[in-house]
Subunit: 200 residues, 2 copies
């Protein structure tokens, strides 16, 4: 049986490693790329290569940064050093940034404890968190992890890990999303919203 030329098979192997891409998806992608201009394909290759050459992780917080420097948040003197927000991933950091109200620093764990997936914490930035939590100017650590089972377990682990931290240990409010209609909210969210009700 005939197959694709070696160059196409090789690219398909790489594309199949990407999240959400299967055999057929990788095939469709390569067929699409075949129709691109040669210069666009070369620019795409260069953009991939730049990830290896330009992007590093910030040594202070685990966010993505360039050429081994501090990330754009850690190097910003206007950010508040007294609060630290712990998130799982870099997209979650950007989600908190999109809220626009938080002006403190971050710590990107790089995931959450998930023993069933083989994540026992060796790859998570716990050491970095301990180092940051020891800074005397730090007054509050916000644990902004997912509220699924693994996220909650990780938060419980973190409260243990940070038991020597003298400042406040907080988490984002749980309740109804902005603009939500009560009749479409799930029962757990309604319960959390009523338990944590605030006065006007």
């Amino acid at each position: 049986m005939k197959t694709y030329p070696a160059a196409i098979e090789e690219l398909m192997l790489f594309l199949k490693q990407l999240p959400g891409v299967g055999k057929r998806g990788a095939e469709r992608m390569v067929m699409d790329i075949l129709d691109w201009d040669k210069s666009d394909i070369a620019s795409f290759a260069n953009a991939v290569l730049k990830i290896a050459t330009d992007i590093t992780f910030c040594p202070e917080c685990g966010n993505c940064a360039e050429h081994g420097q501090l990330c754009s948040i850690c190097s910003d003197p206007r950010r508040d050093n007294s609060t630290l927000c712990v998130v799982e991933t870099i997209p979650q950091l950007l989600a908190v940034e999109s809220g626009g109200s938080y002006r403190g620093k971050y710590l990107v764990l790089g995931g959450k404890l998930s023993p069933l997936d083989g994540e026992n914490g060796e790859n998570l930035n716990f050491d970095l968190l301990l180092k940051q939590s020891a800074k005397p100017e730090l007054k509050e650590i916000i644990l902004a992890l997912s509220s699924d089972v693994e996220g909650r377990a990780t938060m419980i682990y973190l409260t243990e890990l940070l038991k020597d931290f003298s400042g406040a240990l907080t988490r984002p409010a749980q309740g109804l999303p902005a603009g939500a209609n009560l009749s479409f909210a799930d029962s757990a969210t309604v319960a959390a919203a009523f338990t944590g009700r605030t006065s006007f």
Copy 2:
């Protein structure tokens, strides 16, 4: 609002151009790539670049080939020059090959007529098909296009285009798929299977 470093934003732009990849998908892909070894990322970039440098289209049939040469099928002397199978895309060519029974040549149109999507035939290999159909050794042309509306319209157009072709103009049999249960077949397939019934 903070965004990603320029290198990440640039790669996300390219990934978003791939079929089936949206903003979130591209973000997930880049975050996944960030966790790869630097050498793997460089190999991935090289694999993309090779598509631009190594892969060309076969001048005889429109299949993918390497370095401007004939494709592996057109350059195979054992293939039968008396039949030509017209398909829309390269994956469809491989699908016919996977059947294992066809030993003739191919012609890849590169799509089908679809005026609503702006495909009026300028980009399709009609010229190449006319050139192939004029070869004296050719006895049969099989139109193996999709049997959706655009595919059927294209086949009708091709029968007009090939009206000077003196050999047979055929298409693959329509009927029940191999191993199919009649009770799960759709009505159009059952109708086609009964209309085209064959004797033992």
